[in-house]
Subunit: 407 residues, 2 copies
């Protein structure tokens, strides 16, 4: 899908939506006492809940427990720790359920209304004691100003928070939606997880919420490439508590879906931008593809290519690697029809027409490709399908020999 | 397939086989005058020829021309330049054919008996003048001691030569086989090609040669993972000139196939070991898989995982990333049946049994994983299929923050 509407941005992250509070705390799963490692996001009333999960065959225990808990379509709170993924442990399910019990007890709500998530090392037993000890203190910290603390608590090697909140209108009622996320730079051994939590005060039925989320994911979170490692714990979850009092959305609603797409897209770009030491965002759009699937896998192929990522770091217009990447991506296309352009806020230039190189000014190319956000635009001239993927460059430490190879 | 025979190694590389000579020279495609950039390998008589090529949808012009030239099953010489891939250029086919004409002229043989290959930048016009100017001098340099020079001439960012030669016996005749290769470290923007040239004096019919090569490739070259970028110019070519005078092999011959497998396997391991600054080879074997395909994609998944490669660099037994990698590899398996062991020449240790972690000595693990060649052994307990993949670690420059994350 594509963005067709723009929305006013607001403050507050996951607490921008009425009825939501959040908090973060250091409970002791991490040794570094200055780093928060436990987060809560809570709705003051029951909320419709929907989520999408990792496609990895090996799944973290919290994923299974969250699935069980929101199977009825509703939830009220999120508890999430960083520092330990609670995955591939014999007692993983038990610990994930204990986290729910502890959160439910601290909040005075049902354990089946808890969304649970963990991020960090795989295969080390999760210590439950720090969570048990600090859950009450965390619940007491919950506030409408707590989104940033919650975001800090779910971060691992992220260098910055990923958050957005926006306003939109449904049948005359002002609604809000906000999100926080953590995730995965270019290579992030400190965790193996992308987590996104989104809240809204719009009134949306569970099935409609799930359907909107699933629709938005395809062209946002699923189009982010970091280091190619799909985590065991990836999860994006949305809670919709209806505090805005709009008429219940039971089918697809264009405004709501566009609002959700805006939040998902912003967070996805932020995830790509925060690659380990990444200096540039790479946004690759393939248009004119025969099918959307071809457009998607080709665009992802470009932003996933180590060779091309290294070239972008060096601000080197090495378009041959773009053709190489789409060539092995699995996308169907005719190499002798492909056009490629490169662009940034400083301008754009053609590098390839109908599969062969065209002359361009290396000097101008360097200026254009030295910006923070680089756009690679391909046209397959085979149909009407289009897709965009988000990635980042490989930085100097990784590619100091390789980044600027044509000179 | 698996190695079931061992062979005596010899000296001479591609000139170990009777009737073959080779040479390398600096012709000027590269600016660095101390680096050879043009190679020839020549048989003194017609040779059966077989080759396998990249599966990239975008293919270099030399690939198409080589295909044409060996369509009759025979060839006599290889010409290969480094510094320019002659790919995605409007005049690519013309230039590749000109290279063949020039080589044929210098050698006094037919242009249809030339195997042509190029490696280097994609999308820059190949200057034909340096090749035309130096072809005769190169032909004059051809000698039985020229394998190393030819190997140097096809290298790009390789840090060392990849070569082997062995001896074997077919119906009482001593035969020889040798190979040289260049290729792709972890990330090698200076080229986008793995090239392998193999020679033998065994007498083998073209169809049997192609069949043996195709069989050997699957579990050797196709199981090497470097940076995940499949090149537009990858090629492995074998010439068999029959100088050993064994009875013509027209069907599958076990000894010949095993000899070829040995050469392919050695070169594949060498390619993996020579990753950009790589400090360790990672060899991952998956056994007990339901199908060979499952074993192959799981093993490749492990050696391709940036997260796991970073852990190996840090000599960190982070087995959770092994499970994560096989989980997204696409292989079919039951996560709750998987066993994982890690090993080197210093010993081995279990890290995972039936999908869950087992205790091991971190101290011993560190010692074992600090060696040059690391073996990751998985058992899926689902069947009898087995496969091995070859890769390398990510080095300090790339992962200085991430290599040792659990401490």
């Amino acid at each position: 899908m594509k963005s067709t509407m723009t929305f006013k941005t607001t403050e507050g992250g996951v607490c921008a939506a009425k009825g939501f509070t959040a908090a973060g705390i250091h409970c002791g799963i991490r040794k570094n006492r200055t780093k928060y490692d436990l987060a809560m996001i809570v709705s003051d009333r029951k909320a419709s809940a929907a989520a999408v999960y990792t496609t990895n065959k090996v799944k973290g225990a919290p994923i299974a427990v969250t699935k069980e808990n929101i199977a009825d379509g509703y939830a009220r709170a999120v508890i999430c720790n960083s520092g330990n993924a609670n995955t591939c442990n014999a007692d993983g399910f038990e610990k994930a359920r204990m986290m729910c019990d502890i959160a439910a007890d601290a909040l005075g709500i049902s354990t089946n209304d808890i969304v649970v998530a963990s991020t960090g090392v795989i295969g080390q037993t999760l210590p439950i004691e720090p969570i048990a000890e600090y859950a009450k203190a965390l619940a007491e910290k919950l506030s409408a100003d707590g989104s940033a603390d919650a975001n800090l608590a779910i971060m691992t090697t992220d260098t910055r928070q990923k958050t957005i909140s926006i306003e939109f209108e449904l049948d005359g009622k002002i609604c809000h939606m906000g999100g926080i996320a953590k995730g995965s730079g270019m290579i992030h051994p400190n965790m193996a997880t992308m987590l996104g939590f989104i809240t809204t005060d719009a009134n949306v039925a569970p099935a409609a919420l799930q359907s909107a989320l699933s629709k938005c994911i395809t062209d946002t979170f699923n189009m982010v490439s970091v280091d190619g490692d799909t985590s065991t714990n990836d999860m994006v979850c949305i809670l919709a508590n209806g505090a805005a009092e709009n008429t219940l959305i039971e089918d697809e609603d264009e405004v709501f879906t566009q609002a959700l797409f805006t939040v998902c897209r912003h967070i996805s770009r932020e995830l790509a931008k925060d690659g380990e030491g990444a200096s540039r965002l790479i946004e690759c759009t393939v248009k004119g593809a025969a099918t959307e699937n071809d457009a998607r896998i080709a665009a992802k192929g470009v932003v996933s290519s180590s060779l091309f990522k290294a070239a972008v770091f060096g601000a080197d217009a090495n378009w041959g690697r773009v053709l190489c990447a789409i060539g092995y991506s699995g996308a169907e296309f005719d190499p002798l029809k492909v056009d490629v352009d490169m662009a940034s806020c400083k301008g754009s230039f053609a590098v390839c027409r109908a599969g062969y190189g065209v002359d361009f000014s290396e000097e101008d190319a360097k200026i254009i490709l030295s910006e923070d956000e680089i756009f690679i635009n391909l046209d397959f001239h085979q149909g009407d399908a289009e897709a965009t993927a988000f990635g980042c460059d490989l930085t100097y430490d990784y590619v100091k020999i390789n980044g600027d190879y044509r000179t």
